[in-house]
């Protein structure tokens, strides 16, 4: 399997137990839907274990960026364990440290402050997508 050019795979943790998981999820969808819709693809992280060879080949086909909510790093570890080492990683909890005034508390729907952080995470992902694609040329 050879690396597909022109697309980057984004894998997020979507952690259910933490607001940071929802932020990671919303940030990835913002990249997929608005910021880099033609340059990015995604895969559900639990599919690495539940799926088959096709799913596990994801990181061998696309350079990947793992987006994690917390320092458990499920997306980075899961991608490396089942598929291949991510080209880049981003941790929401680290970006939140830059905003001590924002207390992430929401589960289903982000509040305005949390949404601003999700947008910042999305912009960081988009920047890394561009870097990876530039390095392929």
């Amino acid at each position: 399997m050879t690396l597909a050019k022109g697309k980057v795979g984004i894998i997020c943790c979507s952690g259910e137990d933490l607001p940071e998981g929802t932020i990671s999820r919303v940030a990835v969808r913002l990249v997929l839907e608005k910021l880099r819709p033609d340059k990015t693809v995604t895969l559900c992280l639990p599919l690495f274990l539940a799926g088959g060879e096709e799913e596990r080949g994801f990181a061998r086909l696309f350079p990947t960026i793992a987006i994690d909510g917390c320092d458990k790093k499920c997306a980075a570890i899961g991608t490396a364990k089942y598929s291949g080492k991510p080209a880049a990683t981003i941790m929401v909890s680290e970006i939140l440290k830059k905003h001590p005034d924002v207390k992430a508390v929401s589960h289903a729907t982000l509040n305005a402050e949390e949404m601003k952080v999700a947008v910042e995470v999305a912009e960081e992902i988009a920047k890394k997508v561009d870097e990876i694609l530039r390095s392929q040329k």
Binding site: C12, C13, S14, G15, E16, D17, L18, G21, R25, V26, V28, R29, L30, E33, T42, L43, C44, L45, P46, L47, F48, L49, A50, G51, G69, K72, C74, A75, I77, G78, K81, H107, A108, T109
Partner: protein, 135 residues
């Protein structure tokens, strides 16, 4: 630690069905049965986190999967968790064809209604598992 039912959605990110399961989970854990339920990050099971694996081994689990790939159910099974019940959103959608969900970041009103239907089903199951089902 008191016994709780662990509600685990797949949170699939590719389709709105994953968001329906996720929203239904929070309706149960935050609003309908907060004392009797909690959730756990499914990816922790995917990477084999010891604490999360112990949690699903020691407590009954209800999985909510968006699609027939059934990632949540399969991850609980691989972790040797106590799978007490499973729900697949597509099956509930077949019984409620007018509630066509759309949106991943935010569900449309029909998607939210579908999440409510699933949350009610899950809550009934929780009561049954905890031996408190109303006759």
């Amino acid at each position: 630690m008191k016994k709780q039912v662990i509600i685990i959605p797949c949170s699939g990110i590719g389709k709105s069905l994953g968001t329906v399961g996720r929203v239904a989970t929070y309706k149960v854990t935050d609003e309908l049965r907060p004392e009797k339920t909690r959730t756990v990050c499914l990816p922790l099971l995917t990477i084999g986190d010891k604490e999360a694996v112990q949690l699903v081994k020691k407590n009954p689990c209800i999985t909510i999967d968006g699609c027939p790939a059934q990632c949540s159910k399969k991850n609980v099974e691989v972790s040797h968790g106590k799978l007490a019940h499973q729900i697949v959103v597509t099956s509930v959608l077949r019984e409620n064809r007018t509630l066509k969900p759309s949106g991943v970041i935010e569900l449309n009103p029909e998607g939210n209604q579908l999440a409510n239907v699933i949350a009610e089903k899950v809550s009934e199951k929780v009561d049954e598992i905890m031996g408190e089902k109303k006759k």
